[in-house]
C-alpha cells in the first residue's frame, strides 16, 4: 500500500471515531450509555441497523460469491422487509412501552426471571465468542493479501472499537455507524464505477451487465421449489423471513440499536428504511461481483485468488500439474476474450450471436471446472489448506487494479464494516451482562453510578474477550467452526422462546422454561449424535419449544384444575 493509501485509511477511520466520540460526549448513566437517552432520529436508527448487519465479510464475500455463483444470493433477503413489518407492528410497541434495555428484559414481564436469565445467558455465550470472529475474519484476509501481521489488525480493529464503544456507549456506536455506512456506500460505488471504466473503451455498463447474463451470472430469481437448493425465491421469502425475524427481533445487537430511537415513529421509520434499502444494497454489492467476472473476460485472472495458496502450489511437488491447469486456463481465456469482444454492442437478436453466446457460457463453465480441479489438486496434497477463495476475489482486484488512494478507501470500507458490527455486539454484550444478569440477579439495589461503572467495565471486559478470541482463532482454525456451531445451537432456542412470548399467549413461564431446556438439550444431543445439518437447528428449537411448551402447559393446567 502506498503512503497516500495509508493517509486515506488512517484519516477516514480517525475522522469517524472522533466524530462518534464528539457526538456522544457527556455520558452519565446507563440510560444514556445503553439507550442513548432514546433520542436518535429515524435515519440514524436505520443506518445503524444496516451497519450492524453488514460485517466485513459481507463486502469481501458477496462480490466473490456473485463472481462464482451469480446473483441468486440476493433472494436470501426477500423475507427481510416482511420481518421488518411484523417487528414494527408487534415487537416495537411492546419494547417501547416497557422501556426495556434489552430484548431479554421483555421476557421477564411476559414469563418470569428464570426465562429472561436463561435467554440472556445463551446470548452472552454465543455472541461473546462470535464477536471475536467479526474482528478475526477480515484480519486473516487482509494479512494474507497485504502481508500484514494479523495480530496487529486484530488489535487495531478491536482497540479502535473499544475506544469509542467504552467511552461513548450506544450513541457513539450509532453515530460512528452513520459515518461507516457513508464510507462503505461511497467506497463500493467508486469500486463499481472504476471497475466499469477499467474495461475496454467499447464496453459500457449495460454491455457489461448483458455479458454477465451471457456468462450465466444474472440468475437473480429461481422460482423452482427445490428443498436441496440453498437459494430460491421460496426459501428466500420463508427462510429469510424467519432468519430476519430472529436476528432483528430478538438479537440484542440489533434490538440495542433501535431502542435508542426517539419514539415509536422514529424506530418504525428506521426499520422500514432498512426494509426498503437492504435488497437494493445487496443487489448492487453482488452486481459488483458480476462486473468483476466481466472485467476478467478482458483481463487475465489468476487461477486461484488467494496468493498465499497459489504461491504454495507453485513451490510444491505438484507444481507441474498446477502449471498445466494454468496453461489450460490461458487457452480458455484467450478464446473467451475474442468471443466477448464480438458480443459487445451487437444486437442480441442477431441469430449468429447465439452460437457465440453458447460458446462463451460453455467456456466459462470449463474455467469454473478448472478452478475446481486446481482446488482439488491442492487439497489432495495438502488436505488442511483452505482453498475456498471466494473471500479473496474482490480484495485481490482492489489491491491489483484500483488507483492509489482508492485502495486505502476500500480498506477503510472493510475496517468500517468490521468495526460497525463489532461495536454493536460489544454494546449488546455489556447491556445484557449488566442489566439482565448483574443488576437483576447478582447486585440488585445499588445506585446508578455503580451500574454505570459496571456497564463501562462490562464493555471493556467483552472487548478484551473479543480480541483474545480473535487471536486464538488465528492459532486454531477449528475454533471458528466451533463458534459458528455454538451460534446455531443456541439461536433456535432463543427464537423459540420469543415466538412463544409474542404469539402463543397460552404458554406461561414455567412451561416455556422447561420447554427451552428440553429444546436446548435436544439440539445439543442432535449435534453430537445425529447427522442433522446445523442450519436446521434454527427450526428445530422453535418447533420443540412450541410443541413441548403446549403439552407442558396443558399438563400444568389440568393439574391446577384438579388441585
Amino acid at each position: 500500500m502506498s503512503t497516500i493509501d495509508w493517509v486515506v485509511l488512517i484519516c477516514t477511520l480517525a475522522f469517524i471515531v472522533i466524530y462518534g466520540l464528539y457526538k456522544s460526549r457527556g455520558q452519565k448513566n446507563t440510560e444514556s450509555y445503553f439507550k442513548g437517552d432514546r433520542s436518535l432520529p429515524w435515519y440514524t436508527v436505520g443506518l445503524s441497523v444496516m451497519a450492524t448487519q453488514a460485517s466485513a465479510i459481507t463486502f469481501l464475500s458477496a462480490p466473490g460469491q456473485a463472481y462464482d455463483d451469480g446473483m441468486r444470493f440476493v433472494q436470501y433477503y426477500f423475507g427481510l422487509p416482511l420481518a421488518m413489518i411484523l417487528i414494527c407492528a408487534v415487537f416495537i410497541p411492546l419494547y417501547h412501552k416497557l422501556n426495556i434495555y434489552t430484548a431479554y428484559e421483555f421476557l421477564e414481564s411476559r414469563f418470569d426471571l428464570k426465562t429472561r436469565s436463561l435467554t440472556a445467558f445463551l446470548f452472552l455465550i454465543q455472541r461473546g465468542m462470535a464477536t471475536g470472529l467479526t474482528i478475526y475474519a477480515p484480519g486473516i484476509i487482509l494479512s494474507s493479501i497485504l502481508g500484514w501481521n494479523i495480530y496487529y489488525t486484530n488489535l487495531a480493529i478491536g482497540g479502535l472499537v473499544l475506544l469509542y464503544t467504552f467511552t461513548g456507549g450506544t450513541k457513539a456506536v450509532s453515530y460512528t455507524q452513520m459515518g461507516q455506512m457513508a464510507i462503505i456506500l461511497i467506497g463500493m460505488l467508486l469500486a463499481g464505477y472504476t471497475l466499469v471504466s477499467l474495461m475496454p473503451s467499447n464496453v459500457g455498463f449495460v454491455d457489461a451487465v448483458k455479458l454477465g447474463g451471457e456468462l450465466g451470472r444474472m440468475n437473480i430469481i429461481d422460482t423452482k421449489l427445490d428443498f436441496n437448493e440453498k437459494y430460491n425465491i421460496w426459501s428466500g421469502i420463508l427462510g429469510g423471513f424467519f432468519l430476519a425475524l430472529s436476528y432483528f427481533g430478538t438479537d440484542q445487537s440489533q434490538v440495542g440499536r433501535y431502542i435508542s430511537g426517539k419514539s415509536i415513529r422514529e424506530i418504525r421509520l428506521g426499520l422500514l428504511f432498512n426494509g426498503a434499502l437492504k435488497i437494493p444494497m445487496q443487489f448492487f454489492i453482488l452486481l459488483v461481483g458480476v462486473l468483476l467476472l466481466v472485467f476478467y473476460q478482458f483481463e487475465r485472472p489468476p487461477l486461484i485468488f488467494n496468493k498465499v495458496v497459489e504461491t504454495k502450489a507453485l513451490e510444491s511437488d505438484y507444481r507441474q500439474e498446477y502449471i498445466e491447469l494454468q496453461q489450460q486456463m490461458e487457452v480458455y481465456y484467450l478464446e473467451k476474450t475474442e468471443i466477448a469482444q464480438r458480443l459487445v454492442g451487437r444486437d442480441s437478436d442477431d441469430p449468429s450471436m447465439s452460437i457465440d453466446k453458447t460458446n462463451l457460457r460453455q467456456l466459462q463453465f470449463q474455467v469454473d471446472s478448472l478452478r475446481g480441479e486446481a482446488k482439488a489438486l491442492i487439497n489432495a496434497h495438502d488436505p488442511v489448506m483452505d482453498t475456498n477463495d471466494v473471500n479473496y476475489i474482490f480484495i485481490d482486484f482492489i489491491t491489483r487494479y484500483l488507483p492509489m488512494g482508492l485502495i486505502g478507501l476500500l480498506i477503510a470500507v472493510i475496517f468500517s464494516a468490521s468495526m460497525s458490527s463489532t461495536s454493536s455486539e460489544l454494546n449488546a454484550l455489556a447491556s445484557t451482562s449488566v442489566m439482565d444478569i448483574y443488576k437483576r440477579s447478582i447486585m440488585p439495589g445499588s445506585n446508578e453510578a455503580h451500574y454505570f461503572l459496571a456497564s463501562k467495565i462490562g464493555t471493556l471486559f467483552w472487548g478484551i474477550i473479543a480480541i483474545i478470541v480473535a487471536n486464538l482463532a488465528t492459532k486454531m482454525g477449528s475454533l471458528i467452526e466451533a463458534v459458528n456451531i455454538l451460534g446455531s445451537i443456541f439461536y433456535g432456542t432463543i427464537l423459540g422462546v420469543f415466538l412463544v412470548a409474542f404469539f402463543v399467549k397460552f404458554i406461561k413461564g414455567n412451561a416455556v422454561f422447561i420447554a427451552a431446556l428440553i429444546a436446548q438439550l435436544t439440539t445439543i444431543y442432535c449435534y453430537f449424535y445425529t447427522d442433522l445439518g446445523f442450519l436446521w437447528f434454527n427450526l428445530l428449537g422453535p418447533a420443540i419449544i412450541i410443541t413441548t411448551g403446549t403439552l407442558i402447559q396443558l399438563y400444568l393446567n389440568s393439574r391446577g384444575a384438579k388441585g
Binding site: 422487509p81 413489518i85 447474463g213 440468475n219 430469481i221 422460482t223 422500514l272
Partner: protein, 42 residues
C-alpha cells in the same frame, strides 16, 4: 373540530398500515424487476 383520542389512534394506525402495504408493493416490484432481468439476460 378535534378528533377523539380513539379516532386519532385509528388514523395513525391506518397511516402505518399504508406504509407497510407500500413496503410490500415495493418488494413485489423489486421481485418483478429481478424476474424480468433474469428472463431477459439469462
Amino acid at each position: 373540530m378535534h378528533m377523539s383520542e380513539k379516532d386519532q389512534k385509528k388514523v395513525d394506525n391506518d397511516r402505518w398500515n399504508y406504509l407497510y402495504a407500500a413496503l410490500v408493493i415495493l418488494l413485489i416490484l423489486k421481485i418483478l424487476l429481478f424476474y424480468y432481468l433474469t428472463k431477459t439476460l439469462q
